[in-house]
C-alpha cells in the first residue's frame, strides 16, 4: 500500500476517469459525502449515475441519476448487475455511488461490479479490510481518506496537464475543463469505433491524422474507452513500425519540415506533423493518381519516381518507391539542400528496410 502524495489530484482524476473502485471514508457519513461532492465533477457527465444507500438530498438532484431505493442487498445487487449489463447493449457507462456503505455492502452488493463504483462510509479501514478489501493506494486529506481498490493508471499525462492548467481557475471553470476533455476523449473513442466498424483494421498513423492526436494520446483514449465501453480496440489498430518511428524522429532535425507521411499502398503507415499546418495526407495520393492518368504508351517513361510542387510558402515533395513518402516543407532559400537532407534520411530508411532503390 502506497500513500499518494505527488500529483494526487491527477491520480484521483485518473482513478475516477478509469472507473476505479474507491471508498471515501471520514469520521461520519456527512463528511464522507461532502468529500464526494467536492470531487464529483471528476465523474464524466455522459455516465449515468446510479445512486444507492442513504442518498443525501443534494445528490438526488443529479441530472439523469437512477435511484435504487430498495433496501434489500439482493435487490440492490440485481439492480446494479442489470445496469452494468445494459452497457453492453450500448447504454452509457454507469457510475455507481453507494452512500453510507457498510463493510458488508461490499460483500453483498458492490462485489457484483468489477469497476465503476464509489462508496462513502464512516467505517474505519480495518473493518473494510476484514471484508477482504484489498487497498492499493490511500489518499488522506481534509479530514477524510480515499481508499483506491484498483491499481492507479500509469500514464496520467492528460490529467496532469489538466490539473496544472486549471490550478488557478474557479470551480466552475475547472468543471468545464474536465468535462470538456472527458467528452473529447469519449467522442474520439466513438469515432475510432465507427472507423473500425467500417474499415476493419486501421493504422496508428491514420488515427493520429484523423483525430489530430499523438501516439500517447491515442493510447490513453483506447485505455479509457476499454474501461468505459468494455472494448479493446487496440487490436484493430496497427502500430507504426519501429524503423518508421525512428525515421520520423530523425526527420525532426529538418527544421523546415511541416509534415512527413509514409504510405504502403493506400495505407498511411507513418505520419508526423512537426509544425502546425492543414494538409490532408490524401493529397499525396491524389497527385500521384492524377499524374498516373497520362497514358503510359505515349510517354514510354517507366515508373513514376518523384513529384515536387512548389508554392510561395511551401514545397511538397513526393518520392515513389515501394513505399510512398510525402513531405511538406517550408519554402526556403535553399530548397536543394533541404531536399538533399530529406533524401539522405530516406535512403537510410530504405536501406534499413532492405528496399533501397536501384542505382
Amino acid at each position: 500500500m502506497i500513500k499518494l502524495e505527488e500529483n494526487w489530484e491527477a491520480s484521483l482524476l485518473a482513478a475516477i476517469w478509469h472507473r476505479n473502485r474507491i471508498v471515501i471514508q471520514a469520521s461520519n457519513v456527512d463528511s464522507a459525502n461532502s468529500l464526494f461532492s467536492l470531487w464529483r465533477y471528476y465523474i464524466p457527465q455522459y455516465r449515468t449515475f446510479v445512486l444507492c444507500g442513504k442518498i443525501p438530498k443534494d445528490a438526488r438532484y443529479i441530472k439523469g441519476a437512477k435511484l435504487i431505493d430498495v433496501k434489500e442487498p439482493e435487490a440492490q445487487r440485481e439492480a446494479f448487475e442489470l445496469s452494468y449489463a445494459e452497457e453492453e447493449l450500448g447504454a452509457p457507462p454507469i457510475q455507481v455511488v453507494y452512500f453510507a456503505a457498510e463493510p458488508a455492502t461490499l460483500r453483498n452488493v458492490l462485489s457484483a461490479l468489477p469497476q465503476g463504483w464509489i462508496a462513502t462510509t464512516s467505517h474505519p479501514r480495518e473493518e473494510w479490510e476484514d471484508e477482504s478489501l484489498r487497498i492499493r493506494r490511500v489518499l488522506s486529506f481534509a479530514g477524510g481518506t480515499l481508499f483506491f481498490l484498483d491499481p492507479l493508471p500509469e500514464d496520467v499525462f492528460i490529467e496532469q496537464r489538466l490539473v496544472q492548467d486549471m490550478r488557478d481557475n474557479s470551480e466552475g471553470v475547472k468543471e468545464f475543463k474536465v468535462q470538456l476533455k472527458q467528452s473529447e476523449v469519449h467522442l474520439a473513442f466513438q469515432a475510432i469505433l465507427n472507423e473500425v466498424e467500417s474499415a476493419g483494421l486501421l493504422t496508428q498513423s491514420y488515427v493520429s491524422e484523423m483525430l489530430n492526436i499523438r501516439e500517447r494520446t491515442l493510447a490513453k483514449i483506447l485505455a479509457i474507452g476499454a474501461k468505459e465501453r468494455r472494448m479493446d480496440l487496440s487490436r484493430y489498430i496497427r502500430r507504426t513500425a519501429p524503423e518508421i518511428v525512428e525515421f520520423l524522429k530523425e526527420m525532426s532535425s529538418v527544421k523546415e519540415l511541416y509534415l512527413a507521411t509514409l504510405f504502403d499502398g493506400g495505407d498511411l503507415v507513418g505520419y508526423a506533423k512537426y509544425r502546425d499546418i492543414h494538409f490532408p495526407s490524401q493529397n499525396f495520393l491524389r497527385i500521384i493518381q492524377s499524374v498516373g492518368t497520362i497514358p503510359r504508351n505515349f510517354l514510354r517513361s517507366g515508373p513514376l519516381k518523384y513529384i515536387e510542387i512548389n508554392t510561395r510558402h511551401v514545397n511538397i515533395l513526393v518520392y515513389v518507391h515501394s513505399i510512398v513518402f510525402g513531405f511538406v516543407l517550408e519554402a526556403g532559400p535553399n530548397p536543394v539542400m533541404i531536399r538533399f537532407k530529406v533524401e539522405e534520411s530516406l535512403d537510410q530508411l530504405l536501406k534499413a528496410a532492405g528496399k533501397a532503390p536501384a542505382p
Binding site: I287, S290, T293, P295, L304, I307, I309, N310
Partner: protein, 134 residues
C-alpha cells in the same frame, strides 16, 4: 488556341535550344489548352491528363496555406514534366522531356521567354485569375 505569330516563333526558337525536350504546351489559368507542340502528335488524352494534373496541383497548392502554385516537376524513370505557372497572369507553361533534360536550363529558358508569352497571352484577351477584362 494560339495561332502562329512572331512572338510564338521566338518562343519556339528559344526552346529549340533545349536538348531532350519532347514537347511544349501552354495552358490557360483554368487549364484550357492554348498551344501545344510535341514530337509526334500527342493523343488528346495526354493533353487532358496534363490539364488534370494542373488542376490537381493548383487545388493541392491552395489547400496548403492558401498559397498559389508556382511550379511543379514530375520525374519518371525516363521522362520529366515541368509546369511553371505565371504568378500574375496564371497561365501554365508545360515542358515534357526525356530523363536527360537539363531542368536548370529549362527553367532559365522559360524565364527568358516569359515576356513573349505574356504578350501572347495578353493578345488572347483572356481574363487573368480573379480579374475581369474591360
Amino acid at each position: 488556341m494560339i495561332t502562329q505569330s512572331p512572338k510564338l516563333a521566338f518562343v519556339l526558337e528559344r526552346l529549340s535550344y533545349l536538348a531532350d525536350k519532347e514537347g511544349f504546351a501552354l495552358f490557360g489559368p483554368d487549364g484550357t489548352l492554348l498551344f501545344s507542340r510535341f514530337e509526334g502528335s500527342p493523343p488528346s488524352e495526354v493533353l487532358i491528363s496534363i490539364a488534370d494534373i494542373i488542376e490537381t496541383a493548383n487545388g493541392i497548392a491552395a489547400s496548403a496555406g492558401a498559397a498559389d502554385l508556382s511550379q511543379m516537376q514530375v520525374d519518371w524513370q525516363e521522362s520529366i514534366l515541368l509546369i511553371h505557372k505565371h504568378p500574375d497572369l496564371g497561365f501554365h507553361v508545360v515542358l515534357l522531356g526525356r530523363k536527360k533534360l537539363n531542368v536548370g536550363l529549362a527553367r532559365i529558358l522559360i524565364k527568358e521567354v516569359t515576356p513573349a508569352l505574356e504578350e501572347i497571352f495578353d493578345a488572347l484577351k483572356l481574363p487573368a485569375p480573379g480579374k475581369e477584362r474591360s
